[in-house]
Amino acid sequence: MSDIVATNETILVVGGGISGISAALEAAEAGKQVILVEKNAYIGGRVTQLHKYFPKLCHPTCGMEINQRRAKSNPNLTILTMAEVTDISGDKGDYSIKVKLKPRYVTNNCTACGQCTDAVEAEFDNEFNYGLNQRKGAYIAYNNAYPQTYVLDERIIGTDDATKAKDACPADAIDLEMQEESIDLKAGAVVWATGWRPFDANKIQPYGYDRFDNVITNVEFERMNDLMGPTGGKVTRPSDGAEPKKIAFIQCAGSRDRNYLKHCSRICCMASLKQTHYVRENITDGTSDIYYIDIRAIDRFEDFYQKVQEDDSVKFIKSKVAFITEGENNNPVLNGVDTEGYHRYANEYDLVVLAVGMEPSVNQGDFPVDIVLNEEGFIEMDEKNGGVFAAGCSSDALDVNRAVQSATASALRAVQVINQVGAVSPQNEGAK
């Protein structure tokens, strides 16, 4: 017998980022049974990889901690990590779901002491830091990860490292015999919250992200500024490790472009404006030049934009950069023509940050359920989706604030479906 109890009055939430967590908590706190399925070994998603939020410039860990506590204390919520939904069949009010659970090789006995990490030798690209550094084969994604349980990389299984990790563990929490499992669940409604991924900057050929060391993306810059990040909070040039002084931000790197992403990713302008604060705080005499088509400080953030405009260390250049070349000392050179005066420029920088946009993390065609997508691949609100409701960035390019609003709305829709199911289910017959 499975230890997970799920009926057609259960809500399944797919994806444990800020949207998924928000939807799951809202529904669970409204008294519904919720199962949250997360692909990673930890919940929190992209938000955990951010250094600071705009506009308040506070740390995301703070809000995440509150959510983690809500999750821990709510018996209605079951969280499955390293789990992926492979199939959804049935209809609104009665779904059958298959979930694949990947082996973690570490049990709940883990005390997060970290001795397995010290014991193993193999290192891999650290996906949490977008490959900017390496991590061990036994690891926890980041300090505050929830659950506080380590993971063994499947690539060390069968090697000496695996036994070393097992021997080092004082809590006997490592189980090398763990196998991949597939479990079947029932649910009445599904909240789909698989979120976004950064647009692949390699596709923007003229910007040479693949060719020039000192051209990086905004998500990488975010990690660099994090004290717990790959560089311990120091901004460095990938080519020589030196501290950059002149930094350029290129807006709409991939967004609002029919060759790449047709939509405006909505967050990148605010993200770059926010990152100019990092430059001022972390780099002595650092300057930021922002190349833009037009600044879209969404929502009520115009004042944030105005404050950045008043900053002497920040310059705005109205131009979509045409192409990047490499000058002396691996310095990227931005080439183009500006729109205010039509001046041709070739400006040299120490570091260039591409403000890459958001694309849906699930490719069209990879959904385990029939779903209506728009041409950008985001989920449309449509009757045909039945009891599957999109939350957060799987529905549109959103910032955290709007993603949480969207998640709460989806939770309500899911709860409504469950209430209808509950009203007609046999156990309620007697009550009427």
Partner: protein, 208 residues
């Protein structure tokens, strides 16, 4: 100013954008430009001409009729298509530039010393006579474009190249007598005539 030019200028007084939309091939797409400047920065000829495509499009909207139509810009386009490939809104920039060139030519506003305009005419004459480009004749007419003396000089300077091309069959000497042609030459001419008719009628009608 030619009569047609005057008539069109009067007709569209104060709305050059409308004039472009109505009369220039794919001119309607000018409206889609969001002035990002990628075309201007991507153009290999960019530093050598007066107005970048981005600037031309803005000038069209700003009603700078004379400056646009007399610009050398559209004549400097080498049709490399870099701008089209990179334009975030997929504007057919190259085609619009050629459209503007054709329109300026129709209105007799091409700068007199514009060498590309001269070559474009030579190319068209060559192509339209038989439906195939006669490269030998085109080469010769290009050499003699600026007078007989200079033509001989250029021909002498390129003598070796020419002989090598003959040797490797990259140039056929018998093209000098007649040359190859499309199968249905009269049909081809009829088609061109009809196309010119439609184009003339449209612009004629737009000028009234």
């Amino acid at each position: 100013m030619s009569d047609l030019n005057q008539a069109l200028a009067d007709k569209y007084k104060g709305n050059f954008l409308k004039e472009v939309i109505d009369n220039v091939e794919e001119g309607d797409r000018v409206q889609m430009c969001m002035q990002c400047g990628v075309c201007a920065g991507s153009c290999p000829m960019g530093p050598h001409w007066e107005h970048t495509p981005q600037k031309i499009f803005m000038m069209i909207r700003a009603n700078k009729r004379e400056a646009v139509l007399a610009s050398d810009s559209m004549w400097m386009c080498t049709s490399c298509y870099n701008c089209i490939a990179r334009c975030p809104r997929e504007l057919p920039i190259t085609h619009i530039m050629h459209g503007l060139a054709t329109y300026a030519k129709r209105l007799n506003l091409v700068p007199k010393t514009q060498p590309t305009a001269k070559f474009a005419q030579l190319f068209w004459n060559n192509l339209s006579s038989k439906g195939r480009v006669n490269e030998l004749k085109l080469g010769i007419s290009l050499y003699f474009m600026n007078g007989f003396g200079e033509g001989v000089k250029t021909a002498m300077a390129n003598q070796k190249l020419g002989l090598n091309m003959l040797k490797t069959k990259r140039m056929a000497i018998n093209e000098a007598w007649g040359g190859h042609s499309v199968k249905d030459k009269s049909g081809f001419h009829a088609m061109l005539k009809k196309a010119a008719e439609i184009e003339n009628d449209t612009i004629e009608a737009n000028s009234k």
